[in-house]
């Protein structure tokens, strides 16, 4: 069931894909704003430059948490692409995420501290929907294994449209896109300096960027699963939905965290209950 080769390929290739996605993201964003924008390889030059810089820290433990963050994110992604258990992937993802939060707390600095608390709020906002996504996929395909879900011949997205919508909603939070880029943002107009990443600089910040690339690929992989029965549709859907996220990013102002949490919970609750209940009755009720 576990495909080691895919895992290794993910660890090696995902940063390249993720970096390119980030580059294309910047290019498209620039065009939307009427600018030419940098080359699509710009993210690689940026991160490369970060690694040439001095590793300035408030204290050494930050580096430790940054390393943990990238390693466990790569581990999570590898587990996903190796066809592992979807719930295990989600829990591992949470573990990785917590390391970033701890890194921000460890600096003991006001801005990164607020960033950490806000990052936790974001996790709290999307976590229920992410778990329900895995549950929905299980109900639709009768398996938690990514390998089985990816090989399913049923159109998963048609069985769990509610959960799909919910996932798209929280995906905006996970990708740190406006209006939900509450704890940190790639935009210049950051609200609280730089949130969780305030106190990270040089190579440590570079590691966090690379982790973000890993995560992007993982999240798009999740998206793929909804359409996995037909790879062609899946490729088109993933591209279209990512472009949609970019559009949302550029057309929305940042909201307050209260709205982010409440709205994602409401969607998770409504979509989760209605969709799961419908599937439950469709599949013949009591097992």
């Amino acid at each position: 069931m576990i495909n080691i080769l895919s895992a290794i390929i993910f660890v090696l290739v995902a940063p390249i894909i993720g970096g390119l996605v980030a580059g294309i993201d910047r290019k498209v964003t620039a065009h939307m704003q009427g600018r030419v924008g940098p080359s699509v390889f710009q993210p690689f030059w940026d991160v490369g430059k970060l690694f040439e810089k001095e590793n300035g820290v408030v204290n050494e433990t930050q580096i430790f948490y940054a390393i943990c963050y990238v390693i466990f994110m790569a581990f999570t992604g590898a587990l996903f692409f190796a066809g592992g258990d979807l719930l295990l992937v989600i829990f591992a993802l949470t573990l990785a995420q917590v390391f970033l939060v701890l890194g921000a707390f460890a600096a003991n600095s006001p801005y990164s501290y607020i960033g950490a608390e806000r990052e936790l709020l974001q996790i709290m906002a999307y976590e229920p929907m992410v778990i329900l996504t895995a549950v929905g996929m299980f109900v639709a395909t009768k398996s938690f294994n990514v390998s089985d879900i990816a090989a399913a011949t049923t159109p998963v997205v048609l069985l769990i449209p509610g959960i799909f919508l919910g996932y798209i909603y929280v995906l905006t939070i996970k990708l740190r896109k406006s209006p939900f880029d509450i704890s940190t943002s790639h935009h210049a107009h950051q609200e609280i300096v730089k949130g969780v990443t305030t106190e990270f600089a040089g190579p440590s910040l570079g590691l966090i960027e690379i982790t973000h690339w890993y995560e992007t690929v993982l999240l798009l992989g999740f998206l793929w699963l909804f359409f996995a029965w037909n790879p062609l549709i899946a490729v088109v859907a993933v591209i279209v939905l990512y472009l949609l996220e970019i559009l949302i990013d550029n057309t929305n102002a940042r909201v307050r965290w209260q709205f982010a949490v409440k709205s994602s919970w409401l969607i998770a609750f409504v979509a989760g209950i209605i969709n799961l209940a419908a599937l439950y009755y469709l599949s013949g009720g009591v097992s």
């Binding site: 258990d85 990164s112 936790l120 209950i273």
Partner: protein
Amino acid sequence: MIFTGGYPVQFAQLLVFLILFPLISAFFLLIARKDTERDWIVRLSALVTGVVSIWLLVLTYDKGIQLVTAVPQEPFGLIMFGLAMLIAVYILYLGITHKKWLVVGLIIVQSLLVLWYELVYAHGVHVEANLFIDEFSNIMALIIGIIGGLICVYSLGYMKFFHEHHPEMTDRRPLFFGLLFLFLSAMFGLVFANNLIWVFFFWEITTLCSFLLIGYTKTEEATTNAFNALWMNLLGGIAFAGAILWLGMSGNGTMGLDALLTTGKAIALIPAALIGFAGLTKAAQLPFSSWLVGAMVAPTPVSALLHSSTMVKAGVYIIVRFAPVFQSTFTGYLIAMVGALTFLIASGIAISQSNAKRVLAYSTIANLGLIVACAGIGTYEAIWAAILLIVFHAISKSLLFLATGSVEHRIKSREIDDMNGLIVRMPKIAAMMIIGIAGMFLLPFGMLISKWAAIRAFIDAPYGFLFVVILAFGSALTLFFWAKWMGKIIAVTSDSKNIEGEVDHSEWTAVVTLAGLSFITTLVFPLLSTKLLEPFLLANYGKVAQLSQDNVVIMILMLFLLMMMPLSVLLSARQHKHLAPYMCGRTTTHDLRFSGSLGVQKKALMANYYLHDWFGEAKLKSWGIWLCSAVIVIMIISALTKGVLP
């Protein structure tokens, strides 16, 4: 007893030993006045109970359920009845002298029920096997023997320090330690008893012990909270007595757990619902959660004991025991719903709490809720998850309480915000606390494995999607309050000094052993599952639940990866450039001091988010009380009408 050397007799001896030995220790602790005497009695007794409970596991390994007929119903039944009446009189006396009329009323009702049963029906009831042991009892015995024992050892150091720093309180340590061991004895009795009346007797003793321990300090608050705990548990006791009376009246005198669980829902459902209600009170589920939160006034080891290995675990133990009766009944689902709602609401309240012990209390209530939810659903997968939760929760929660107790003695505060930078100020205890917190909510530790198991169990159960949704929300809340606490501890405050000093030897032994246990149990979890849980499930449900081999391997891999991570610090020992934290352009020193207006040096302070508007205790609790009370009322009605799920 005859020494034939046969297995059943040997079991009987061990079971009786585990019940009586702590009782004897309790007696000696009551009369021991010198510190050194007490130290040695506690250490040796804890060691013996721990070793014997492991020995019991070795001996019963792979033998399934063993009914013990070697201990006759009489005269023990009569002695227990006499003692129960004495306890009732004692409680009555306390109730009257303290003018707690609710307690007085409840104890009178309960005693009348017991008397009624004893006078009218008792002679018609004969239970063949009064004690028994199976894998589940065995797991409980290990929790009581090992974790309970460690908490007693820890108390030695803690209580000494406690009385040195609270000279205004009378030093009643002999009573304190006597009660701890009496508690352990009652817990052993509770999990080994097959005769329901014996279960009830031990049940009442745990109620009494917790009442006396909560009120130990004799402050006004402690006394109030102790009586609060007492009346709620007496209410449960009345339900329990009602169940026994009902069985005497119309249950053909089926009083053995073994017989009752296989007798069919027609007879067992009503007593199961009543006992389930008793379990809810003891497990501090909403609307009865306030007694456990109030119990925080007691010295910290008492909290650790109540939360991990005794008391509340007795509540969930009995519900899990009756799970086969609850399975696919409306009653079972409603009990499960009380648990699930409690899980959600208590997790929410924990976010708004700034006091470490209250956070721990609400987290316990929440996790017990999850256990109750699993037990109420009662499928083999759900029971698998429930027992895993019981085991892992006991370890992590006791560790957290004990670590918090040690911290409290040093910083004189239980506030989480005062624990900022603990990793610098007391690195050793902080490390233990981090292990405890990680054990509560992060992969690959036990609690998360159990939650995972619970999700899978809920999905497979009829109407389980409702519980899945609740669980998904509850875990998100859980994550929030644990992570922000952990963040406080690991913040590196470079200006702080190490104030850890010498950690008391007995405290440190207990804490380190528990921290070690949380790693070891995570590692041997597959063994625990295949060797103990699967036989139990197979015997009671005919099916087994397990984690796939791949997932186990991945999790062990993660555990090793995590344990390797601290090494990365050694590797990157290169000198880094140290910068002061960013303070919006203010000139800042490394420890967050900046010059404010008029040149005054100020220090920036940071506090956690508590989100009172959303998760305020008063509001959420009253919601929880109304909701859960309503569910409980319907639950009792459903049992009376024998509602079986469509």
